[in-house]
Symmetry: C2
């Protein structure tokens, strides 16, 4: 009754991808819990911190591969926590950009070390060259369907 | 304001893993919608179909990397749809096993081709040797944290 790796589902790349990703997300969520963040919030916060002038919700949805409605919810949550703000864009007042607050930058810096460490555990069995190959393949999977 | 791949988050293997996995899950969910299934339900159904004598909810949680409470919900949904049943195990009447019904086997066979095709799209840029390497690395990530 044991489920062996040789069975179809376990050979299935889509399943393996989802399973490995789930492991990393769970480990990272645990590490981020102490900072009051979940992985998706942390990703939105990180992108907002990286974009000097802010980033639109449409771009966030595209980069993160999420529905616009999911992004709105995440930005609402981060706004309520005081970590980001929606600001009108200089060039086009109709477009509002998500900008990290000083508190958002601080929380992200603090959370970053724990998030990186958590992510490191499941990836620790891979050598540097393998990581490069994995990064390359995952980027191509992303690009194929983006 | 464009987010370039050279930025930290996009270099991050955990992020790439989650993004690539999300692409595959979304493509597969779309393909499965016509069969009234989502990816996780399909995974539970597949494992139930593969286990001749059925599979326990504890095993399902372990193989799928889900919380037991999530598995109970998925099995409830599949039971309500008439695709699986909970049956008492022969050897130990206290352990109940999830067993696919004849209708469950039929639906899974019908859904399988569409699910496989959907999964194929994002993976189509990888050659056979690369798939093998990816499969190997993902299995090791899984094993490292299982």
């Amino acid at each position: 009754m044991e489920v062996h790796m040789s069975q179809p589902l376990a050979d299935d790349l889509g399943f393996l991808l989802s399973r490995a990703s789930g492991q990393v997300v769970r480990a990272t969520n645990s590490a981020l819990a102490g900072h009051g963040l979940r992985v998706r919030q942390y990703s939105v916060l990180t992108l907002a911190c990286q974009a000097a002038e802010g980033i639109s919700q449409r771009e966030l949805a595209s980069v993160l591969g999420l529905d616009p409605s999911q992004v709105v919810l995440l930005v609402d949550e981060l706004t309520a926590a005081g970590l980001v703000e929606r600001q009108a864009q200089e060039a086009d007042r109709r477009t509002r950009l998500v900008v990290a607050t000083p508190e958002g930058h601080r929380v992200r810096e603090t959370a970053r070390e724990d998030a990186d460490a958590a992510m490191e555990t499941p990836l620790s069995l891979l050598g540097e060259a393998e990581r490069e190959r994995l990064r390359d393949m995952l980027t191509r999977i992303w690009t194929a369907t983006g």
